[in-house]
Subunit: 257 residues, 2 copies
């Protein structure tokens, strides 16, 4: 059992320094392939999310599927390699935010930087959101991140800049909520999330001052494209079909005898 290696740090947070590997090193070709797989996976997952298939990763990496399975028998191993440094980055952002003098500014800064980090990587977004708890890394990450967020919230509240009725849990929900919007909108307008983050921040601060909203309200066409990309259910449901009107798709009163 060597896969738990918490090293205590100054504040009780757990460091992510990897232990010396105890397995024999990979063969040279294997190492090369491993690198290719990670590169391919990084790109595909950043683009399309955690769901991309091994077959596609293999194709992109110019490697057989079997190789991908051999190297990463479970997706957790792959996600570990792809995201552990990103988690470190988030922790870094949190520490920086805690170092900011003005507590409200610190909280704002954290949220903004966190979203900036996630903006370019859909996989990271999904990992941080829902995927987090199904993975060893995910659970550990939450353990590192939560106390820092709690501290940030506590500071902002004590300083009187955060509404007293807003708690740590609210911040996490807000991150998820705006993150969900980001998922749908980044491709249409990469900075739109800033606008809605600003609205929510205005809603949870206790001062009465509004910052100006960044960007412009999206126009109809933009809204349409954003909604069209919102978390689809499974298979299509708008496929082009034969032009025949579907049987009784034309309205028919339920009261027909």
């Amino acid at each position: 059992m060597n896969h738990d290696f918490p090293l205590l740090r100054y504040d009780g947070a757990v460091s992510e320094i990897p232990p010396p590997s105890d397995r024999p090193p990979l063969r040279r070709d294997a190492e090369r392939n491993r690198r290719r797989i990670l590169t391919a996976a990084r790109g595909l997952i950043a683009e399309r999310g955690l769901g991309v298939g091994y077959e596609e990763i293999a194709r992109e990496a110019e490697v057989g599927v079997g190789t991908v399975y051999r190297r990463f028998p479970s997706r957790d191993g792959l996600f570990y390699e792809l995201f552990h440094d990103r988690v470190d980055a988030v922790v870094g952002i949190l520490e920086e935010a805690l170092a900011v003098e003005d507590p409200w500014e610190g909280l704002r800064r954290f949220m903004r930087r966190d979203f900036e980090l996630q903006a370019s990587d859909r996989g990271l977004r999904e990992f941080m959101l829902g995927g987090a708890d199904s993975t060893e890394l995910g659970r550990r990450s939450r353990g590192r991140i939560q106390p820092l967020v709690a501290e940030l919230v506590e500071r902002a509240r004590s300083a009187g800049r955060l509404r007293a009725d807003v708690g740590q849990g609210d911040i996490e929900i807000i991150l998820a909520m705006v993150g969900g919007l980001m998922d749908a909108s980044v491709r249409v307008d990469p900075d739109l999330w800033r606008r809605y983050l600003a609205m929510v921040l205005d809603g949870i601060q206790s001062g009465d001052r509004h910052d100006e909203l960044p960007g412009e309200p999206p126009d109809q066409a933009e809204v349409g494209r954003i909604l069209a990309g919102w978390a689809r259910p499974r298979r299509g449901q708008g496929r082009p079909r034969d032009p025949e009107a579907p049987a009784r798709a034309g309205p028919q009163s339920e009261t027909g005898s």
Copy 2:
């Protein structure tokens, strides 16, 4: 081509009054089955979203799959039957909201009532969000709803209660954003959305007064359950696997020779 039957109404909106069906009436058994299918579909889709399969609907309706396909060759026809009256309800809510004297109160009321309507029906939520534009009904619905929302927004802004830099498109995005949260959280806490809607409303009003936030901040366990249910990617990715550490899932420095 008889499946377009816009009847002009007072404000140019399109009425949804069904035309007399020109097809021969269904046989008695067919009508009975059609009813069963709709009932089953209504329940399943409200519970689990637009993605439920025909096989499952058939099982629930105690009918063969073939029957479901015969009656609803495309999902659009099914969605039409399930949702056209819900769209009418939304339009009704909008009209009521426009009749409220205080424009800001009207806007608030619309959003609240709209969410209350959607809270109990995940399928409706998905239909109103993304699914809307892939369907004849969806497109028509947007056409009816948008001008009313625009009017509501215009009123609230003229009255000076809505920030001047908030547009109609923003309201639609906010509906989608909070709707996404609702998707993830209704099962855990059916009223949690009210809290975040309140925050956003506070963020977009121009007065400096905050309403009290409904509910309490979710605690850690609650946040965990909510995030766990957030729009999953495709297949599981946290399946229980053999307890062996995945090959090199244990961290290994990328710098290994």
